[in-house]
Symmetry: C3
Subunit: 234 residues, 3 copies
């Protein structure tokens, strides 16, 4: 806490941005992001045939895992996930919703993906800003922004026994939009231009990129000369 505040004192432009961005609007955006991430966790729980408690664990891990990792790394303890009751309860609400209405939730899978993209954009911006607040460098802050946005999904997949979707080449780009958003925030901080408006623009950029990646099935390249390993491994 003291550490965060003293940093805030010395970095007025970040403090300003953080303030603008952290108002009650920010809190509701956070909860919305947590909610849609939790939906994806609870839905995976249904597909994996878990009981309601397993669904709740997946929902909590998906929604809060990325921010928890960031907070532990930057020394913001207790992490926001355990300091704000709403952060903890929102995934439970999402779990109940999926528990009773999951065919309907599956049917609006497109809507879930839409909000998941919004959460991705939001969390990469929030994560980068918070890490910088706590004194990390710009590159490290961007890396933690990516971890905030994508870490929960990785934890979800590991707990469910799936290979993390983030790592699979046959999925539409997920990391790149978050990297672009986090990188944009880092550049804005560097240029002294981070405000609520520009931060929102960075989040929107990541959001639109993710929507485009899903729409046009953008993929990332795999290592060159893949055939050679087929021989090497055979």
């Amino acid at each position: 806490m003291d550490r965060a505040r003293s940093h805030t004192g010395t970095n007025d432009r970040v403090a300003l941005a953080f303030e603008l961005f952290n108002a009650s609007v920010q809190h509701w955006l956070d909860l919305a992001g947590i909610f849609v991430f939790a939906l994806s966790g609870a839905l995976l729980g249904v597909r994996k045939n878990l009981d309601v408690f397993g669904m709740a664990v997946l929902a909590e891990a998906t929604a809060l895992g990325g921010g928890l990792f960031r907070d532990v790394v930057i020394g913001a303890v207790p992490p926001a996930a355990f300091a704000d009751l709403g952060y903890f309860l929102t995934p439970l609400v999402a779990t109940l919703l999926v528990f009773f209405l999951h065919p309907e939730v599956e049917r609006i899978n497109k809507a879930v993906n839409f909000f998941d993209a919004a959460g991705l954009g939001l969390f990469c911006v929030v994560g980068t800003t918070k890490a910088y607040e706590y004194g990390l460098g710009l590159t490290a802050s961007g890396a933690l922004g990516l971890a905030t946005a994508a870490g929960g999904g990785v934890l979800r997949d590991i707990l469910a026994g799936d290979p993390p979707q983030l790592l699979r080449w046959d999925r539409d780009l997920y990391a790149v939009p978050a990297i672009v958003g986090a990188g944009a925030v880092a550049l804005l901080i560097h240029a002294g231009e981070l405000t609520g408006v520009t931060a929102g623009g960075a989040a929107a950029l990541a959001f639109v990129l993710r929507l485009a990646a899903m729409r046009y099935h953008w993929r990332a390249p795999r290592a060159w000369q893949r055939r050679s390993t087929a021989v090497g491994e055979g």
Copy 2:
């Protein structure tokens, strides 16, 4: 440390309970809980055909993983797992025992389950109390009590490459007894009635519930209308 102490100063009733509960009896109970959790880790190592070092890693992770997670989250560093030599050495003793005598240990599997239930009850109470000591809210403290009790088993299963038993619907209730025990402690703190005796009662409640869940094969419900997903996924 300072943080913990100042909290203790302002929460005399918790301090009292913690003191009562944290005497040498508490230490021996802790070691007993660690020992039985470690047995379950080492036994899984045998079933997974791991060597003696793999068994020791699983034993340590099972016994100490939950408390380690709690301590990192609440900022109690170095965690108890690394601050108390007995906590670290106990899983190694359990590993040696299983290494030389595992058919006998398997045969007393019922006894291991019995002590595992005792460990579950104990750890959910200790975890909730310690998290509250470090300034977390009652709900967050209860969640960390559950994480203390069940986290080690989740880590054990992930390291061994199994889907976490905690999440599987076809296993007898494990999370619910810990949730009840942790919730009871949170209510006792809220009512100002947490003493060594009532804390012991909460641990006993979780213990008995877990024994009953195993005896009567209590299961948790899965999401409603499961059939619909069979169609949806097909």
Copy 3:
């Protein structure tokens, strides 16, 4: 930081060793260890058919995961992995190299194993020393030295969906050389004989043991009377 410094003040012999060992040579050794660990992560990414971002995630996790775990446990936040830009960028360089040249890198797999053994020796010594610096006991410091050296590989395998190689009985000894190296450092600290030279000796000892384990296919024993479980499980 303050905590570390005050410990340094009271443990002059460690401070001396740490200083000797932490010069610019140390930094380059660290980067070399990170680089070869990252190569092994990126190569596994190629074998698992991941795209370039998945490769980078595996490379970062393999190279930095062990030290990250150690730093979070001892309270050294932000961890070195996020405080030193070189630590973060080196795995990305390794990823690019593997991305474009992986058949060549595979061909020099023996060289990678050689450097991986060097990284193992180096990291178990650095990890043990740093944990002691932060006030942990000798046994706990040794355990964290082992975690520093082997933790990244465990994280790599879990992310990739493989059972951790560290735990498998059919792989050449990996933990034992690190345990010997970390134990040697702990004994040297206890005897007041830890200097840059003796620390280098401990690293060399672990390095040579790992090379010998690969050369002669040393394995660790599994639990006695394995047959009995075959019956018990059947």
